[in-house]
């Protein structure tokens, strides 16, 4: 019972992180900032969901498997973010500077 409540609380707690990362993906000005929003906030949100599900799992083995999913996703998403940003830099999309005009403002 306590496990269920804790699990639901953790899953509810993950929602703000997902909303924040989605807003960041839509509103941030360039590739690098969007990647930052996606990888940081989504990983925390997914970690909270995985923890919430692992707490409610029937056995320890199932719970550990769910946590393993989180670990794998951390590995994959961080490497993927590195690959995307490296290739964006190599194909000539320099990061936006502080005094650049924000062309995407209000969109």
């Amino acid at each position: 019972m306590m496990g269920d409540l804790l699990g639901i609380a953790l899953i509810l707690l993950s929602l703000p992180f997902f909303i924040a990362s989605t807003v960041g993906l839509l509103r941030f000005p360039d590739v690098y900032a969007r990647l930052h929003a996606l990888t940081k906030a989504d990983n925390v949100g997914l970690g909270l969901i995985c923890l919430g599900l692992a707490v409610q799992a029937d056995s320890v083995a199932v719970g550990l498997k769910i946590v393993l999913i989180w670990g794998l996703l951390l590995l994959a998403s961080s490497t993927g973010a590195t690959l995307i940003s490296t290739s964006a830099l190599r194909h000539g999309h320099p990061p936006r500077q502080r005094n650049d005009v924000d062309k995407h403002a209000g969109r």
């Binding site: 794998l72 590995l75 994959a76 490497t79 590195t82 690959l83 490296t86 290739s87 190599r90």
Partner: protein, 304 residues
């Protein structure tokens, strides 16, 4: 659960629509990969875990990698889809009519179909088949002849590709993207572990040769991307690769003939030995499928 169904349906429709209608080849391929992931979730929802495992590895992974690499190899003049963009509004009305009509007819037919099924018949013969999991029993014993022909189709596809051209090696990414090599190094033990786990699990739970082969094949594609490709060109390994590609089909044929000798009917396995045959075919077929998926990725024959 209706909300989940509706969400999955809308996601599938949105990704498929964007894949088929929006301009931009890269965007279309990316949407097809997203569509594959949504389909994998739909398979889970429809109680088809075996199909979901294969779809996640093949439909979302390997098909997308194949298409993306092929798009990257095309000359610049062929990468645009812009001329379709202007034609969409004019075709919109006839397309909608056709979609509504064909979809409606299919839907009504589908719902009116009698669903008979072979659930009881299969449950009755399952103890004699050598596998506890029904899908594995059907694939490798009860309807083994279908799977035999399916592996033959795959081998024919490899032969067709190899007869077309020399292999197009994927661009060497490991110098520009060092993270990729590290990821491949970290993930490879896990790919092998998952492969063995699926093979072992296949006889009594969802898993088996097809998901195992798909997972190992996806790992193989990752290896090719990080430049670990030289071995395919060496004479000794090239011969080994050919034998392994054919191993699934050869073992399958040998089993079918052994069944003919032992029980008098093609592919009629004696129940007490069926379990061993199934394990042997499973390992060989999974290895062959993995290597075939990996060689598809080269779009040609590896030859020095």
């Amino acid at each position: 659960m209706l909300a989940v169904d509706l969400l999955l349906t809308l996601a599938a429709l949105a990704t498929a629509g964007q894949c088929l209608l929006l301009p931009g080849l890269f965007r279309a391929v990316a949407n097809l990969m997203a569509f594959g992931l949504v389909m994998a979730l739909i398979w889970v929802r429809l109680d088809a875990p075996d199909v979901a495992l294969a779809e996640a590895a093949i439909g979302a992974g390997i098909t997308g990698a194949l298409l993306l690499t092929a798009v990257g190899q095309l000359p610049a003049s062929q990468r645009q889809l812009h001329h379709e963009h202007y034609r969409v509004p004019r075709r919109f009305i006839p397309m909608t009519i056709i979609v509504v009509f064909v979809g409606g007819v299919l839907w009504a037919t589908m719902l009116a179909l009698p669903k008979v099924g072979l659930v009881k018949e299969i449950a009755a013969v399952l103890p004699e088949s050598g596998a506890e999991h029904a899908v594995t029993a059907i694939l490798l014993n009860l309807r083994g002849i279908d799977t035999l022909l399916e592996i033959a189709v795959m081998l024919c596809a490899v032969a067709a590709i190899w007869s077309l051209q020399r292999a197009i090696p994927p661009p060497a990414l490991e110098l520009n993207y060092p993270g990729l090599t590290t990821l491949a190094r970290w993930l490879h033990p896990l790919f092998l572990l998952t492969f063995s786990y699926f093979l072992w699990q296949g006889t009594h739970a969802p898993g088996g040769a097809f998901p195992a082969g798909a997972v190992l094949g996806a790992g193989g594609v990752l290896l090719l991307l990080t430049g670990s490709i030289g071995w395919m060109y060496r004479h000794y390994y090239n011969q080994l690769l050919r034998w392994l590609l054919a191993a699934g089909l050869l073992l399958f044929l040998a089993t079918a003939l052994a069944g003919l000798l032992m029980t008098g009917s093609l592919y009629g396995l004696p129940p007490q030995l069926a379990g061993y045959f199934i394990i042997a075919i499973e390992v060989a077929a999974a290895l062959s499928i993995a290597l075939m998926l990996m060689t598809f990725y080269l779009f040609g024959r590896p030859r020095s």
